[in-house]
């Protein structure tokens, strides 16, 4: 998240620096995804990759809406979320290479980015499993704020549309509402769960409507519109921080690539895909920034160049970061190694 930015919803648009940061995040997410896929295709990177394409605007909006104190739990499709927390791209990429410079010393991999200082508390590779953990993290936030004068913090959990099918999501919605937790459920609805379209797995694909019936605030927003998403997320986060309870925000987008880095997506109806590509959030934001005069062509180019540099610097850093020593295999299983079997 942007240092010091409070995500106030009274502003119609974020401050210029935040707008620029948003656009940069979108560029970095897209560019890094592509660079990683290229590396994987050449066999130079052995990692599961889940591109953010289509969700960049949601991640960017989240990054500005969250304060430094807010915390997040993310899932495997986490590159944009990690950037939203302010994690430097190079530690994200180093983790993908399994290097010591990664967020988790190379032990977790792409699906398990963690940066406690920057508020990315954990990342799960299991669909839906972030939600119960977010309930507990929000409970911690609620208890903390009831005990101290410090500003309340909100918890964000991100997950896909497909995750709403699984039992843990249901249990968590009820509990968050029951306990009035400072929790924002950010559903990154890209209309697909791997190869299955939402209409094929949900009897009622209106997810916000479903979650509203638990007795919590739930609304859908156009996730291809970064400003609208920012406003909706900001007010959900404000509500959470001010004791107004949890929200479910369904950010509707469309998946602009395959499910994973190298996977085929010829099954995606081409009309739907091209309609979605028309609304590709990066180019949309670029046009909007220019048309509304928030930034100049020159500044946009500057940001674009900077993003490219950040990306190449990140890959260079990752590739030159040393891997963990084989002897580290047995570290970090427990707080101390004493007494445990080695095999």
């Amino acid at each position: 998240m942007q240092n010091g930015h409070t995500g106030s919803p009274e502003l119609t648009v974020p401050a210029i620096e935040d707008l620029e940061w948003m656009y940069s995040l979108m560029l970095e997410a897209k560019g890094a995804d592509e660079a990683a896929a290229a590396e994987a295709r050449q066999g130079k990177l052995q990692a599961a990759l889940y591109p953010v394409r289509g969700l960049e605007g949601v991640c960017a909006a989240l990054g500005v809406a969250m304060t430094d104190d807010d915390q997040m739990i993310s899932s495997y499709r986490n590159l944009g979320d990690a950037l939203a927390c302010g994690i430097p791209l190079r530690t994200i990429i180093a983790e993908a290479y399994g290097r010591l410079g990664g967020t988790s010393k190379g032990k977790g991999g792409t699906m398990h980015l963690t940066d406690n200082e920057r508020g990315l508390i954990t990342t799960t590779g299991v669909v839906g499993s972030g939600l119960p953990m977010a309930v507990g993290l929000a409970l911690a936030a609620q208890l903390d704020s009831s005990r101290s004068e410090n500003a309340a913090r909100a918890i964000v959990v991100t997950f896909g549309d497909g995750a709403t099918s699984i039992g843990s999501a249901h249990e968590s919605f009820n509990l968050a509402a029951l306990w009035n937790l400072p929790l924002v459920f950010v559903c990154q609805n890209n209309q697909w769960g791997e190869h299955t379209a939402i209409d094929a797995y949900a009897a009622n694909p209106n997810l916000a409507e479903r979650v509203r019936s638990y007795g919590m605030h739930a609304e859908a927003v156009d996730g291809f519109d970064p400003m609208a998403t920012w406003r909706t997320l900001s007010s959900a986060l404000d509500r959470a921080r001010s004791g107004g309870g949890p929200s479910f925000i369904e950010c509707k987008t469309y998946r602009l690539t395959g499910h994973s880095g190298l996977s085929d997506y010829s099954y995606v109806p081409s009309d739907d895909l091209s309609a979605a590509l028309e609304r590709d959030p990066g180019p949309t934001m670029r046009r909007w920034l220019l048309e509304n005069g928030y930034v100049s062509e020159a500044r946009v180019s500057e940001l674009e160049t900077a993003a490219e540099n950040t990306i190449s610097e990140a890959f260079a850093f990752a590739q030159s970061s040393p891997p963990p020593d084989p002897s580290e295999l047995l570290d970090d299983v427990y707080a101390s190694k004493e007494g445990f079997p080695v095999r």
Partner: protein, 338 residues
């Protein structure tokens, strides 16, 4: 009953006769009192009922329903939210009524609690305790399983299974203040029937230390949980005839194999006795470790007596779990061998 050193930080002199449930309650009360980061979550745990076994009786009245939280019937989310609260700086104790319902929470225990430290490269701790109870055959096959073997087979967890009120309290306090996730297993059959003198104050028993609960020279019984009592009864019945040593493991991970080795080096004969399924169970691990370490020294193969390879039957006539009689028989067979 145990040889373990006791760290008694308050009211050292005060002791009281307690059931296992009372010992649990006392440990939880102390933990809630001394550390505001301690939380308890579970079904029906708030007052007035204070838990189906009453282990949390009086605690929500005393410490508030914010910290002693009754939940809906959501085992997965009870454990999952414990994991989340732990990541948020708390020390949650999740109560799961019957261990069988841990099946609902395996993802949070195994894929998350057990792995967050490792997957974060050591940056995160998940200090949760999952308390769960092994039921009894009166409830049938879905309320009586002993599943500690699964958790032993899952790196990243500690596994504790005490047999008496003193150990229950000292180990539960250690578990709560341990920085790793602990699966803490209770036997319903002992909840009220096993009592003992317990200090009323705070003391800790280190996780990972077994206790020699009966000395003997002919055969070693290595056991834990409710089967400690079955084993002790068998040992008493055999006294005069066969001199049986009984080891109460108390913790399964870390496993105190040294205490077992010292004993079996002396007796040359050992049986691992447990209430969980024998096949691919804890006894196999212990037996092969002993065999390996004492190769050439044993008088007979290390034997095992676990539950039969069946679901737990309801009818009382069908006995799947070791009994005093079956332990005695196993000891007699072993004593003749070699």
């Amino acid at each position: 009953m145990t040889s373990t050193e006791v760290t008694n930080t308050q009211g050292a002199a005060d002791e009281k006769k307690m059931s296992i449930v009372a010992a649990l309650n006392s440990a939880l009360d102390i933990a809630l009192t001394i550390d505001e980061k301690v939380l308890i979550m579970g079904e029906d745990i708030a007052d007035p009922i204070g838990g189906v076994m009453k282990a949390t009786k009086g605690l929500s009245d005393k410490h508030g329903v914010d910290r002693v939280r009754a939940t809906p019937i959501v085992e997965q989310t009870i454990v999952g939210s414990a994991v989340g609260a732990a990541l948020g700086g708390y020390r949650p104790v999740a109560e799961i009524m019957f261990m069988d319902f841990l099946c609902q929470a395996m993802d949070q225990i195994v894929n998350h609690a057990a792995k967050t430290r490792y997957m974060s490269g050591g940056h995160s701790s998940t200090p949760i305790v999952v308390r769960a109870m092994i039921g009894s055959s009166n409830f049938g096959a879905q309320h009586s399983q002993a599943l500690e073997g699964w958790f032993m087979h899952t790196p990243g967890l500690k596994v504790v299974m005490p047999s008496n009120p003193y150990d229950v309290k000292g180990l539960l306090l250690s578990a709560i203040f341990d920085d790793d996730p602990v699966v803490f297993i209770e036997n319903m059959s002992m909840s009220y029937s096993v009592t003992g003198m317990v200090p009323t104050g705070d003391y800790r028993i280190p996780i990972g230390e077994a206790a020699v609960v009966r000395e003997g020279s002919d055969v070693t019984l290595i056991t834990y949980g409710a089967e400690v009592h079955t084993s002790l009864a068998a040992a008493e019945a055999l006294a005069g005839d066969i001199d049986v040593e009984v080891i109460d493991l108390r913790s399964l991970v870390p496993l105190d194999i040294s205490t077992c080795l010292r004993s079996v080096q002396k007796t040359k004969r050992a049986i691992v006795v447990h209430g969980s399924t024998q096949f691919c169970g804890p006894g196999a691990e212990i037996a092969i470790q002993l065999t390996d370490a004492l190769w050439g020294e044993l008088a007979a193969p290390v034997a095992r007596l676990g539950a039969s390879y069946t679901p737990v039957p309801f009818a009382a006539e069908l006995q799947s779990i070791p009994t005093e009689t079956s332990v005695i028989a196993a000891v007699q067979v072993l004593a003749e061998q070699g």
